[in-house]
């Protein structure tokens, strides 16, 4: 019954989405379904992680067609961890949406779409087939297009069009890469690809395909120089939607980059190391500089998303177990910490009706808890010990020093300081300085139920970030195990194909 654990993270969101479709005009039922569905997803993700830890990499063949002919689902520790993160984020955002979603969004299918998005994300994490990955990407993208364009406001339309156009170009690149790869190798099963490509030196088309796929996934992951669509579109969506987008969608891109460049294109990873590290450096800098220049909180945070992508890619550029473990730890940390930041931003905007820094201020006296809820993840993202961001960055920087990438280290540290600067500046603008203009300190009324529904997921995610900092050891050991598995493609291949190459 092991294969059941692999299918459950896909079946649960799908079933929930279908039930949500059936309950179309019953918003109350839809909300309940959303929370129950994501809670079940979280439970199944935890079960999957436990199974993978106990039994090693597991795989299942959809339709019982043996690999490499059928579609394979694979879970190693890395993918199980990411599915778990998707479950946590799904639950947190579903709860938060109870308070923050308006009638209009509910009436056009917000909750079922959220489930479809989670389906696409979990599918991308679990699939072992390159073309199947394309299908999951598109599932995810169609859901995200609709979620982004849902409000129908002018700026949302603008954001949605940029998002649609850039992501469709990425999909076209991806598809072309898949086609060429099939023409060269004759298979699309990732394990089989790894077997066939590891034996021969990569000449001719293979490096070109690797670059094509690198570009396609870099667009999805918002890596320099392909990041510009992200700050242009994300800030227009409702807070719950941006939270789940920034937590999961870009991470799917990073996950796939790490997966295929540690499994299939190993030779390109070592020859292309300077390119990957350059992309890393510029991504960090571009995001941080962009965030420093912005006067509005949501824009600051979307640029911050870009900047943090750079750190996640660092592990791939350095390719030692410590560096990859650092990247994985950092991904888990940033999903929790950045989402807590976004959610508390949502509470701020709900209370004050704005996210422009100039019009905010003085919130500390009225809402000290909220101030703490913003400050803790902010410091964590900046990498202040003992919070989670510090350990991720420590591992990455240690790995970079160990391999002599001093420029990368310098930039990573500089960007950390810049991150600290702009997040603390934002904090002091929102909570500390006196509020300008209108001297009434009245805030919008938020009903106690809504307040609880907004605070619970925010506190949950902030404390995950805090816990990951204080008890970093077990999480880091898990990341290290995952990194070792990634660097030993043999175990992945034998789990899928059944033979040790």
């Amino acid at each position: 019954m092991r294969h059941l654990f692999l299918f459950l993270p896909l079946l649960i969101p799908l079933v929930t989405a279908v039930l949500g479709l059936l309950a179309w005009n019953k918003p109350r039922l839809q909300r309940m379904l959303g929370v129950c569905g994501t809670a079940t997803l979280l439970a199944s993700a935890a079960a999957l992680l436990v199974t993978v830890l106990k039994e090693g990499i597991i795989s299942a063949q959809a339709g019982n067609w043996p690999a490499p002919f059928g579609i394979t689902l694979v879970a190693d520790i890395f993918s199980a961890l990411m599915v778990l993160a998707a479950g946590v984020m799904g639950l947190a955002v579903s709860i938060y949406s109870l308070a923050d979603t308006d009638r209009h969004h509910e009436s056009v299918g917000y909750y079922p779409l959220l489930q479809v998005l989670l389906l696409g994300v979990c599918g991308s994490f679990l699939t072992g087939d390159l073309f199947n990955l394309y299908v999951w990407f598109e599932v995810m993208l169609i859901a995200s297009f609709v979620l982004l364009a849902m409000g129908g406001r002018r700026e949302q339309m603008e954001g949605a069009i940029k998002y649609v156009a850039l992501n469709l170009i990425a999909s076209a690149f991806f598809l072309a890469g898949i086609g060429l790869l099939y023409g060269v190798v004759g298979t699309l099963n990732m394990a089989d690809l790894a077997v066939r490509l590891r034996a021969v030196p990569h000449v001719g088309t293979v490096p070109v395909i690797a670059v094509l796929l690198f570009c396609a996934f870099s667009i999805k992951a918002a890596v320099f120089p392909f990041f510009f669509w992200l700050p242009a579109s994300y800030h227009t969506a409702p807070v719950a939607v941006i939270t789940i987008f920034s937590a999961l969608l870009t991470k799917v891109g990073v996950y796939v980059l790490i997966r295929i460049f540690t499994l299939i294109f190993i030779q390109e990873t070592s020859t292309g190391q300077p390119v990957i590290l350059a992309a890393t450096i510029f991504t960090m800098m571009a995001g941080a500089l962009g965030a420093t220049a912005q006067p509005e909180l949501r824009r600051i945070l979307t640029f911050c998303v870009v900047s943090q992508i750079g750190y996640m890619l660092m592990g791939l550029g350095i390719m030692t177990p410590l560096a990859l473990a650092g990247s994985i730890f950092f991904m888990l940390h940033i999903i929790a910490a950045k989402s807590a930041l976004f959610l508390s931003t949502g509470i701020v905007s709900r209370l004050t009706g704005t996210t422009e820094l100039a019009r905010l201020g003085g919130l500390y006296h009225k809402r000290p808890l909220l101030a703490a809820l913003f400050l803790v993840p902010a410091l964590s993202v900046a990498g202040i010990p003992p919070l989670s961001g510090f350990w991720g960055k420590l591992a990455l920087i240690q790995a970079a020093l160990g391999t002599g990438h001093y420029l990368t280290v310098t930039v990573a540290l500089g960007v950390s300081i810049l991150t600290l600067y702009y997040l603390v500046r934002a904090w002091s603008e929102i909570f500390w300085k006196k509020r300008q203009g209108t001297d009434n300190d009245e805030y919008h009324h938020v009903s106690p139920t809504h307040r609880r529904q907004m605070l619970v997921p925010t506190v949950l995610l902030a404390s995950v970030s805090l816990l990951m900092g204080i008890a970093a050891e077990p999480v880091f050991r898990l990341s290290l195990l995952a990194a070792r598995q990634l660097l030993d493609p043999g175990s992945y291949i034998s789990a899928v194909l059944g033979v040790r190459p």
Binding site: H3, L11, L14, V15, L22, W24, Q61, A62, G63, N64
Partner: protein
Amino acid sequence: MQSLILSTAIRLLMPLFLLFSVFLLLRGHNEPGGGFVGGLVAAAAFALYSLAHGAEAGRRMLRVDPRLMVAFGLMTTLVSGMLPFFSGQPFLTSLWSTFPAPVIGHAGSPLLFDTGVYLVVAGMSLLIIFSLMED
């Protein structure tokens, strides 16, 4: 748009279209055809009807909400995929009946899956077409 030719023709063509869509669905079991094209042909029938008589009339003709068609279609495919779980096999494994049924030959869970696809495709296309024709 009012076209006498279209509105007269579609009255005669509609049953033919729907019959053909079911034929395609069943034929897909062994030969070119299948749920996807079948669903598209069924959707085309209703789309042409709506072009002739308006989206409102098209919806009345369809009787069921296309959204429900999508939901039931997805449900059907899910059920057909989950059937093998009962015999301990992975998701989507095909199960075949041992005795031949009339007309279609050996029936199996892929036919159920295809029926689901038929409903999803027809429902989804009509959902899009109706929403483009209205408002």
